[in-house]
Symmetry: C2
Subunit: 115 residues, 2 copies
């Protein structure tokens, strides 16, 4: 799978996104991560493997704990992909602003010929 697909795929699950949000607050062990979820530990473990494979988290080793750390740089790929489309939705926004500006102008010059 290409990297972009892998990242999008990893993010397409609310549990995994919640795990990332949790890790934004700092490193956590697997049991700490699992605590808020109504899901078995192996289930969480699988989700972590998906996130690690996508490069979104990394895991170190401290005694019998395997603390997970967020790797936000892995999101730059999709941020870059978005770039091209950001232009497009801003264009629309610009047109809307133009339209609103025009409406306002019409309001002030009520009765005058249009443009």
């Amino acid at each position: 799978m290409d990297p972009l697909s892998t990242t999008f795929q990893a993010l397409a699950d609310p549990t995994r996104r919640a795990i990332l949000a949790q890790l934004a607050g700092g490193e956590r062990s697997v049991t700490e991560i699992a605590a808020p979820f109504d899901m078995s530990l192996p289930g969480i473990s699988k989700h972590l493997k998906v996130l690690e494979h996508a490069g979104l988290i990394s895991r170190s080793r401290a005694a019998q704990w395997r603390p997970c750390k967020l790797e936000p740089e892995a999101l730059r790929g999709i941020d870059g992909w978005l770039e091209e489309y950001r232009r497009l939705w801003n264009q629309r926004l610009d047109r809307l602003e133009d339209y609103l500006a025009e409406l306002q102008a019409k309001g002030k010059k009520r009765g005058r010929a249009r443009k």
Copy 2:
């Protein structure tokens, strides 16, 4: 499925992303869209349904054609989701810049006490 998961899921396929890229150039009929791909028409049709369901494209109707149009606004959801993490990877970048600045300072004041 929640909207964010639906969007990410839709984007987690290279064919679907290629379709969006193609539609960034303007509206296209289904056969036009299908042309560059080595895939059956029903296959493409399924991909289009996924994209439409995610709100990433819309379809109108002109005679027997069903032209597809890109709806880039549907990407704002994931752009907003990214926002929180952008902060984090910029932090890292800031730290790197700080570090480089410090290195440079050290270079100029070589031999002096640090900090």
